[in-house]
Subunit: 257 residues, 2 copies
């Protein structure tokens, strides 16, 4: 967006913020794409324009990749549309396809930015550990057919907590920015055959969550020791970490402001 | 299948039984359809033929409707194929699409029939109770936006237990058979925003589980009292029960032999 255009948008009367959930399976990520490629943002902006009556350009907390899901994506946009706030959810959801839905809406201060005001984010990664694939889990989990040591994985996750340079887990292609982030919490829990890996950090580098998960699975399979993750992290060398875990297992769960 | 053909099939050396799971969203039910309509059985038989090398005609425990899922469908078929039993799962699953997967395989006695030997079945129905739709649940749940009284629904389910004539919950179009079934167990449980309704019965009439759920939701919304389900059941009149609940919420969980 050009600077003058941005100013024009900000001159609008209302700054609307929303929590949005989506099943990312059918989309080329969140960020707007040139048709015929369809991203979540394309669909959302198209429907918001019908409801608000002016051209909508939204900003989002996280640019989730193709196939990644969200239960708590946060977006905001400026509008002169006059629909009362309490009617927005129903109006927008009635137009959206089944795989995208607005969860809540509020009118924010003019200086609130879903993207720039975010203090931290929580990503959840789900693994399905089992001998055979499960079609009822495969949309939202990475299936691992070998047994995983959850205690080893959990120990390795402990080493991620704190302030670190996460370069070793950053894919090339992301925006150039400091590779230092604070990992507030990295916890493993189990629900039946599903292993949930939850990461709460001040921010995530490009592919960081999925690259960490790839390395944790290598540890869970016994190919490396839990404290090998320290060596990988301190190498600041992407080639030391494992391959990127599949997008389908990842979910942007929550954004904190 | 003609009788002679059936005998020919049964003359084959092995009776293979399998537990199969599927996401029914993309299929016109389990039972074989004439192409281009695709049912789970079409896909499964096509892949089994590649693995076993002879023409496969399978029998299944439950003929799930279009859009209904299964974690524990049971099938069996006769074959002269010589692939060792322990290699079947991997061979078949490597050919199947992501939304169908064999969970286990065994060689059964010649007189075992997945369909006719079944003693009872367990169906699970999932409701998502919440103000806004959730795209991460919508594939496997019926979304109800009004609050539901789980205690009233649970009480109503208690009345279903025992031996009853379930005609009031039978859709027209099913095979003519006795409408008397024994409901061993009908229990409600809650997992976050999801209400799970589990039915274990000697058998289910056409649309019976979904018609019961429709009526239970009417009770949960407070439109009827819990014991109204007795009046509906004793009327033996389909028009007394509520509309059929959507297929997406239903799952064939288990078949007992």
């Amino acid at each position: 967006m050009k600077r003058e255009h941005k100013e024009e948008m900000k001159a609008r009367a209302r700054n609307i913020a929303m929590i949005v959930a989506y099943d990312g399976t059918g989309y080329h990520g969140f960020q707007r794409q040139t048709p015929p490629i369809v991203a979540v943002q394309n669909v959302l902006e198209e429907k918001l324009q019908l409801v608000f009556g002016d051209r909508i350009e939204l900003a989002a907390a996280g640019r989730t990749d193709a196939g990644v899901h969200a239960s708590g994506q946060v977006v905001n946009f400026f509008t002169n549309g006059r629909i009362p706030t309490e009617r927005i959810i129903k109006a927008v959801n009635s137009l959206l396809p089944d795989d995208i839905a607005v969860q809540s809406v509020w009118e924010a201060d003019h200086d609130f930015s879903a993207r720039h005001s975010a203090k931290s984010k929580t990503y959840l990664y789900r693994l399905h550990s089992g001998k055979t694939p499960d079609p009822l889990l495969s949309r939202y989990c990475w299936h691992i057919e070998y047994p995983l040591s959850t205690s080893d994985m959990s120990r390795a996750m402990g080493y991620l907590e704190g302030v670190h340079d996460f370069s070793a887990f950053r894919a090339s292609g992301g925006a150039p920015m400091s590779p230092v982030r604070e990992m507030y919490d990295a916890k493993l829990s189990v629900e039946g055959a599903v292993i949930m890996l939850r990461f709460h950090a001040s921010g995530f580098l490009y592919h960081m969550a999925r690259n960490i998960v790839g390395t944790l699975v290598r540890i869970g399979e016994g190919l490396e020791e839990p404290d090998d993750i320290v060596r990988v992290m301190e190498s600041h060398d992407r080639s030391q970490a494992a391959a990127t875990a599949p997008a389908r297992g990842l979910l942007l769960e929550h954004v904190e402001y």
